[in-house]
Subunit: 690 residues, 2 copies
């Protein structure tokens, strides 16, 4: 019985831990599977997986064409190692999930196929290499699949799902847009085609239909405005009207429509997925409750002793007094048991940060006052207190060290090192800006954007990797960069006579090439910024076949029309959520309870009062100041500051407020198949009420 109880506890703890971290892995409930599940979610295992994913992606830096060349044997051995790790991780996952769930999940199939393809490709390439036959390492495009499909990358997957869901509507707008573009091009051909006009470079102007379509597509991105219009405008001022109409319809209206479609879908799907998460969490907590419940009167409850065992399992690191505090909140009438309603809140309670604000002074101060008061110790203490600042100083230090090591190869001198340190110190000024109330909302939004920025970074990484690998296959070595004083043949034409008199060579863009992974990334970044992308497209089209332009158009559509718009949607939504919270305080029941018990202290209260002091000096006594304001309990709950909430967390608590705690919620299948139409939460509530 004791053994069975501990297995139940283990399973319940797994559920609670899942709810706490919003994990979404259905696992087998056998004792062995639960133990494996704990191992699977251990932070070391997760970190190792991420390490190998990025190692696998970064291989492109060392493979031909390489930034830092390594022998083929070394890179291929590392790749095989990575693939083995991925396979091991997948096998581990297969052991903990029910068989039918595992094989139904396309993520797992994708990973398996990618591993197989990579191994096959590697084997073929290696074999051909022995006979000195050069072939293409096409499986390298599949590498981002590991980043997307491993269970840890939920955010990136969600962004991709959002893109997939948006695609049909984007396609319709895109077709309309293409229709408009083709119509305008036809008109341009008829209007200007037979006038024998010339561009500023002396080339024929608007003669060829396909070239007109390309030129006008570039005009939509505004990159060749006003150059594309000048020859016609010089001929007759009235022709400007054609281009004005074109820009209004295509650049302003259609590009805004793209943003509208992407934003609308992004918001709809985000809400839906967040709601799924909230329900999932609730459901898991109820499952844990059902495992541990006993009858108390007619009411099912969890007794105090079991509850403590559970908390010890879920969060082994928290102190006894912290656990007592959690208990007092969950069982505020001190009845010796916890009812369902309070139990369900445990996952959120565990997520609330706790700071140990002690009335007694620092142990070091008690035992070794001399050392404690020494200047080194004071420096260390002030460092711990001002993490923002410390970060900058460390960055400055790193820069200083880096510069010193690079000193021999470059022209740095000690003056410049001090300059950089000075500049990084200047960033401290951001604190002044932050202390002004009106800048706060904006700064909050910017801070909240950071976690989503990482998701966007992952998304960008995937797209960039794929396009960089294709780009290197297409354009590698076609364009070379020579320093200004080089005597190489065609140095001014980027080593390629085909670029003579081209805008690409004249703009001195030779270093923008696809000769290695790093250069490709920078070119793709410049293409994301859009300006001059047509010069790049024409330049690379000159040195290879004409269809090279399609590569650049494809990149523009994927990156600028879809991904950048999703990023803008991120920011818009983050700002709107932040703004709506500015007015109406979304406070959960738990936070209210903590405040009622007088055990809460808001970080912002601390910050506001200390900010100006901190600016002047870091020498005042933090402990004493805070100690006077708090209870003599030794522990105070720090309610997660409004500043460091992600958009996800904010939306989640909005939806949580609408789930009645007694409710079991929809079943698992219902949750996973929530229709996007039911995106508004009130709608769903009424549905369930029927």
């Amino acid at each position: 019985m004791a053994e069975a109880a501990s297995e139940e506890l283990l399973l319940a703890a797994a559920f609670v831990s899942d709810a706490q971290y919003n994990r979404n892995i259905p696992f087998k409930t056998s004792p062995q599977a639960v133990r494996l599940y704990y191992l699977y979610n251990h932070w070391i295992m997760r970190t190792v997986t991420y390490f190998f994913i990025f190692l696998n992606l970064s291989l492109a830096v060392f493979e031909e064409p390489a930034v830092y060349p390594l022998p083929f044997l070394a890179t291929s051995l590392v790749e095989v190692l990575c693939l083995l790790v991925f396979f091991g991780r997948l096998t581990h996952f297969a052991k903990i999930t029910p068989r039918n769930v595992f094989w139904k999940d396309t993520k797992n199939i994708c990973i398996m196929v990618a591993i197989l393809l990579s191994l096959t490709d590697l084997a073929i390439y290696g074999a051909l290499r022995i006979y000195n036959i050069k072939s293409i390492r096409w499986s390298r495009i599949a590498r981002p699949i590991f980043l997307i499909n491993f269970a840890e990358s939920r955010q990136i997957r969600r962004a991709f799902r959002s893109i997939r869901n948006t695609l049909p509507e984007i396609t319709y707008v895109f077709l309309l847009f293409m229709f408009s573009l083709l119509m305008f091009s036809l008109m341009a051909l008829k209007l200007f085609g037979e006038r024998n006009l010339q561009t500023a470079e002396g080339l024929p102007y608007f003669r060829n239909y396909l070239e007109i379509v390309f030129d006008l597509y570039v005009l939509v991105t505004t990159a060749n405005s006003p150059d594309v219009m000048m020859p016609a405008f010089d001929f007759s001022s009235w022709y400007a009207l054609f281009f004005i109409a074109f820009v209004i319809v295509n650049t302003y209206i259609f590009m805004s429509l793209f943003l509208a479609v992407v934003y609308n879908n992004y918001k709809k799907h985000l809400k839906n997925e967040i709601r799924q998460l909230a329900y999932m969490k609730h459901r898991k907590m109820i499952e844990a409750f059902n495992l541990l419940k006993e009858e108390e009167g007619a009411q099912p409850v969890v007794r105090e002793a079991r509850w403590k065992q559970l908390v010890k399992l879920v969060a082994p690191d928290i102190s006894n007094s912290h656990r007592e505090l959690l208990l007092r909140i969950s069982d505020d009438e001190q009845k010796g048991f916890i009812d369902k309603k309070s139990f369900v809140q445990l996952a959120d309670l565990l997520n609330i940060q706790v700071i140990t604000l002690k009335i007694r002074s620092h142990p070091l101060g008690q035992w070794m006052p001399r050392i404690y008061k020494s200047s080194v110790s004071q420096f260390l203490r002030s460092m711990v207190r001002h993490r923002f600042d410390t970060l900058i100083i460390f960055a400055a230090l790193t820069a200083t060290i880096l510069n010193t090591t690079l000193k021999s190869t470059t022209m740095y001198n000690s003056q410049q090192i001090l300059d950089i340190v000075f500049i990084l110190r200047v960033l401290r000024l951001i604190r002044i800006v932050d202390s002004i109330q009106r800048f706060r909302v904006i700064m909050n939004t910017l801070i909240n954007i950071v976690p989503t920025m990482l998701t966007f970074g992952g998304l960008t990484l995937v797209v960039y990797c794929i396009f960089a690998i294709i780009g290197m296959e297409l354009f590698h070595g076609k364009i070379q960069f020579f320093p200004a004083n080089s005597n190489a043949p065609y140095a001014l034409e980027c080593g390629n006579p085909a670029l003579k008199d081209s805008l690409f060579a004249r703009g001195k863009y030779c270093k923008n090439n696809f000769n290695n992974f790093a250069s490709s990334f920078i070119v793709l970044m410049e293409l994301t910024v859009v300006n001059q992308w047509h010069v790049f497209a024409s330049g690379f089209a000159n040195v290879t076949a004409q269809p090279a332009k399609l590569y650049f158009i494809a990149f523009h559509i994927v990156m600028v029309i879809i991904i950048v718009n999703i990023f803008v949607s991120f920011i818009l939504e983050a700002f709107f959520v932040e703004y709506s919270l500015e007015k109406s305080e979304v406070e959960t029941a738990i936070e209210r309870k903590i405040q009622e018990l007088g055990m809460g202290v808001q970080e912002e209260v601390l910050q506001d009062e200390q900010l100006l002091d901190n600016m002047e000096s870091a020498e005042h006594d933090l402990e004493g100041e805070v100690g006077t304001k708090t209870q003599p309990r030794g522990l105070v709950f720090k309610i997660a500051s409004k500043r460091y909430r992600t958009v996800d967390a904010l939306l989640q608590r909005m939806f949580e407020a609408e789930i009645p705690p007694e409710d079991e919620g929809p079943s698992l299948e219902e949750i996973l198949n929530l229709p996007p139409a039911a995106a508004s939460p009130s709608h769903l509530t009424s549905e369930r009420a029927v």
Copy 2:
């Protein structure tokens, strides 16, 4: 008594008419004032006012520097005439509004001051001219005031109010943005300033702090990417990271923040103003009811005879059978009187379009069957039926005629005329696109945008006028355009040696100048599109003083950061409203009642069935086809098609649904001072419930 009744009727009719057209003019209730009020709102008076406003604005085309020069006497006489008309209109307005209301309204004060200033300026300029002293016509900047402040331009005023309300928040984001820009510039100076790098043009790179700030500001708009980065990037690849960080922070995050702030405020204030309009309408209808009500039992009602007199006054043009239909809807139990609830709906009822679908055939067909069936008549009939097409054909005809007249001066030949006619015919293809269901939402949005586009056009016109007039004062004559084969001195440098070797001259931008009103507009349009604006700014700075760049920066801030973002907000909102209507049908009580009575026919039913037929031929009989589906009453209500609703109208009916018909609503002062915080209608409802 009969006279008194007719005065009451006249006043009530004025209220109903105000409610019908959403006018917002408080007027005196004396009989004379009401008659003047009718005159004031007559469409001829309104059209004349608009005509003179645009005449006054277009004077800039004929004044020095002129596109089409006219003698000073002619333009100044026209200007005096315009000002007299404006003064007359204002006097008329003063006669119909209560004195304290008139003098409290800043609009009226603005107009008066503008008239006085313009006359003074004109007199001084004319007097100095006699003594051959050239002075500046500075009052021309005040001309757009008439467009903004005349009571008819409510939409433009609303947009300006929205901008004014957004300004504080925009300012805070802008200050943060400037802070970021200055910090990055400081870093750039320290990083690159002492490396002795050169730009592609051989100029010093990143030496002067102010120039760095300008260059990086231009990079925010992406206009000089990647050129601004290339010298540093050529020196060391790592420096690309600085520019990547800069673009992410400033271009992507800050520019999105601007959009977020503008959109958020736009939406908030739009909702608030629309709600004001809805309340105002409701209030006016109740005032009209109170004027005409009689007791019927305990209930106040309006008797049928009076109601008919009222409708005759408000809408003198509608037929007897139409009026009978309105009566049947308002008094559906045929009790001989109309209660308050039904009476209040009259304004909306009058707004519903009615089509006369007659079972009897066309009168011409009865009396002169031969002529009716002739090909000319059939052509005319098909033309009337297919307005969209007809519009295009007329445009084609106009183009044909225009071309023929221009034939002698240009190189057109008959082939090209046919080409243009052909292109315009090609636009008929839009109908095919429209017939596909999935393109409908997008097309609906695009159609709904048109009325708001006009508002945006007005807004743009005002900003362009002001900047064009300033631009002409600053840059007039400094840059000249010469045809390609000209022998004028410095023809390649736009007639100005200061532009030698500048990017402006090399880009052949000479025709982009501020030498007249039309050219200025085109330059401003190109600046709105943003690309290459720094080339313009540097070019014009070369030929005048250095602060000329401030003009271009100011234009960028006003036009791109504020106005274009408002336009994007328009489109986003239009799309979201359209999208939300796609799912939930917002149908008013009236529409439901019409459908219940079996008297409604939705235009879309007609369209969908006829669309494909129409595509093939226009020869089928419209009357017969529709006649079979409708009642034999001779009249059918056409419910305003979902396609041609403006965003305003859609939002308005959303709010109207929440006003209980029995309610008097808030008082006039309360309506006008609705706090923006109360933007959500449910909030307001609960407030009133207290």
